[in-house]
């Protein structure tokens, strides 16, 4: 049976189809009409079951069908599939960052999520890349080339941008500013991870995991090695596809069992 997992995020939509193993995966920008994007992606593929996750899950599932599951759960299931010894999942996406601690058997034990704004998320780095006139894909390399240390104190996207502007006007080179931005966001994310009490193995997923500088800084701050999957943006969709296979309800029954076990 072919199962589809669709992760409708704030910045990208990822579709993964699975039949025992991954059959196919595709990624598109979310844009202003996510529903149409999802329809395009799904029209080109055949599948028997669908589970939708991500920010737009309720919108898409009510229009297209399929059950919904939160990203927190989808990322947990996806990360465990890729790394069976994973105990902590860090997911930094377009507008949210989340960290989830798993039971040894893989179910969600607890999670933390950023509050209300885009501070500490991928969107923050995107806005800053624009201010520095670099492509988001090159921001990490630019930061890693920095030869001196400056500091950004604010993590609010709006205030940080004005801090960046003032650094630019003082003649500070972009590489140092880029590094300061990475430092600021990494400190914020590491704080959130520490709050939950991370257990190894830590898997870092979501679009921001593509940023090498960020991975390196978070790892340094936590003093833990972090593992980034080859396609970090697909982890949620993989999880959703796996949940589609076992059924959302069945999955819940399984949680209870593992929970009872874990408490014992």
């Amino acid at each position: 049976m072919i199962c589809a997992g669709l992760d409708v995020g704030s910045r990208t939509i990822v579709l993964v189809t699975m039949d025992g193993s991954i059959v196919d995966s595709a990624i598109l920008e979310t844009g202003v009409n996510p529903l149409r994007r999802c329809q395009e992606l799904l029209a080109a593929r055949s599948y028997q079951r669908l589970v939708v996750t991500g920010y737009g899950r309720h919108l898409v599932s009510s229009a297209i069908g399929g059950e919904t599951v939160s990203e927190i759960r989808a990322y947990a299931v996806g990360a465990r599939y890729l790394y069976p010894d994973c105990r902590t999942v860090l997911d930094v996406g377009g507008q949210d960052s989340k960290v989830t601690l798993l039971f040894p058997e893989g179910e969600v034990l607890k999670f933390e999520m950023n509050d209300r704004c885009a501070a500490g998320s991928g969107k923050f780095l995107e806005v800053m890349a624009k201010t520095l006139e670099v492509d988001i894909g090159n921001l990490s390399a630019l930061a890693l080339s920095a030869s001196r240390v400056v500091q950004i104190n604010s993590l609010c996207t709006v205030f940080a941008e004005s801090e960046v502007v003032s650094l630019i006007s003082r003649g500070v080179e972009s590489s140092a500013i880029a590094m300061a931005l990475h430092e600021a966001i990494a400190a914020r994310i590491a704080g959130m991870v520490r709050r939950i009490g991370p257990k190894e193995k830590v898997v870092f997923a979501g679009g921001a995991a593509l940023n090498k500088c960020l991975c390196q800084l978070i790892s340094e701050k936590l003093g833990i090695e972090i593992t980034v999957p080859p396609e970090p943006q697909s982890v949620g969709a993989i999880g959703a596809a796996l949940i589609a296979k076992s059924g959302v309800r069945l999955q819940h029954a399984a949680i209870e069992e593992t929970k009872t076990e874990a408490i014992k």
């Binding site: 920010y55 309720h58 919904t68 599951v69 939160s70 990203e71 927190i72 759960r73 507008q95 949210d96 179910e107 969600v108 607890k110 999670f111 999520m113 509050d115 209300r116 819940h252 949680i255 209870e256 408490i263």
Partner: protein, 425 residues
């Protein structure tokens, strides 16, 4: 909206244009959040009527009383003893402070990083959009948080305000201070009304307010049943309305609702299926019309079965002993009862942690949601201890920090969905 109402609002100095916007905004929200619910008790019809005419008939009643010389005393907090107000033949009325609508108005004066409850309440007065404030002769504030305390100073430029000092510790010295505050409040109310508070009047009003507490205790008791016979949203609304409705009518209506809901329990009927995850909400108060978190939780498939909140158990859990005695003895008993409210303004406040754990058990909940109004520092910091206490008991907790606006509805829904996936049976 009758012409009578419009004329009344105009006489009260209401900003009619802004007020119309508010009155037009409420019905569609109420329809979506309340009337869309399935399987509601018929007894909620009264509360639907009350909200449908929120600035109408009750304000007319109060105005009529005021015209006959009765003093209307407006309050925001469960620390202000209604017994004393009623014993002087004055009418206590809890004010609204639960809508985003009045927040931008307040932000013209107050700092933005103030909690939504403070901004909302201040905005109602500043914008002249609340006929209850306009009808009232006195607003009684209190010192339960620094934000409110300083806001009341500014509010006093627009309306007569009296402040009761709620102490921050639970020592004997603090109790003595509070007893003094209660005594002073009695004198303030006597002076304002010109009525003498006698021992006889005080025991009568004490019994009356206790009866309201008993009615709400009875309502909350029904929520311990599984399946739960009434939605969290409906129970919350009944509690919110009890803050400003006539006390005797409130007792009658809540008890009528209980009669019906208890029959449901006897017949094994529920408003949600028996397997629905049961949630206790604990934290900052939810003033009317703040239904945001309950709505998100219940649309996501949870049942809110209890609120450890000032709009909840903190309001009615303890009764004042009905022993009578002299005015002084009774005031002492009243003061001591109010000191049992485990508000986060106290340090330490470990009794609240015990309450949360006890309520979680009594209401057989699957998880607790700690509700924090953004910038409500007392509850935010106390949440750290709540988290530890619940972890020790193995009770799952979700911490939510939000305000009255809808901008974070998507993020909240994600958290709530993930939490329910965790606790679902």
């Amino acid at each position: 909206m009758t012409t009578d109402n419009r004329q009344m609002w105009a006489e009260l100095g209401i900003d009619l244009k802004k007020h119309d916007m508010l009155m037009n905004a409420l019905p569609p929200i109420y329809k979506e959040i309340y009337l869309s619910q399935k399987n509601r008790p018929q007894g909620m019809g009264f509360f639907d009527f009350v909200v449908g005419d929120i600035h109408g008939i009750r304000v007319q009643e109060l105005r009529q009383d005021a015209k006959n010389g009765t003093i209307v005393v407006a309050t925001y907090c469960v620390f202000v003893p209604d017994e004393i107000v009623l014993a002087a033949d004055a009418i206590p009325v809890g004010l609204c402070a639960g809508t985003q609508f009045s927040v931008p108005i307040a932000e013209e004066v107050l700092p933005r990083n103030t909690c939504a409850l403070i901004k909302s309440s201040f905005g109602f007065k500043l914008g002249r959009i609340c006929p209850y404030v306009q009808t009232s002769h006195l607003i009684v504030g209190e010192t339960t948080c620094d934000g409110k305390k300083k806001m009341f100073e500014i509010l006093a430029e627009y309306h007569p305000v009296y402040i009761m000092e709620v102490p921050n510790k639970k020592t004997q010295r603090s109790r003595d201070l509070w007893r003094g505050e209660v005594l002073a409040f009695k004198e303030v109310i006597e002076k304002k009304t010109g009525n003498k508070i006698t021992a006889d009047r005080l025991i009568k009003s004490t019994r009356l307010v206790n009866d309201r507490r008993r009615a709400l205790q009875r309502l909350y008791n029904t929520r311990k049943a599984n399946p739960v016979p009434i939605s969290g949203k409906d129970a919350l609304l009944a509690t919110q309305v009890s803050f400003y409705d006539d006390v005797s009518r409130c007792i009658k209506q809540v008890n009528a609702l209980c009669d019906e809901v208890e029959k449901r329990i006897a017949n094994g009927e529920g408003v949600f299926p028996a397997k629905t995850p049961r949630v206790l909400i604990s934290g900052s108060p939810m003033a009317i019309p703040n239904w945001k978190l309950h709505h998100i939780l219940e649309t996501a498939g949870a049942a809110v079965v209890c609120e450890e909140s000032c709009i909840g158990t903190r309001m009615f859990s303890d009764l004042v002993p009905e022993k009578g005695g002299t005015v002084e003895e009774q005031l002492k008993a009243i003061a001591d009862r109010y000191m049992q409210i485990h508000c986060a303004c106290f340090t330490p406040n470990d009794e609240r942690l015990d309450d949360i754990v006890r309520l979680a058990r009594e209401y057989k909940v699957d998880g607790v949601v700690h509700y924090n109004l953004q910038f409500c520092h007392t509850y935010a910091n106390e949440a750290v201890k709540v988290e530890k206490a619940l972890a020790k008991e193995g009770i799952p907790l979700l911490r939510v920090e939000t305000d009255y606006s809808d901008e974070d509805a998507g993020q909240l829904r994600t958290r709530v969905d993930a939490f329910l996936e965790m606790i679902r049976r």
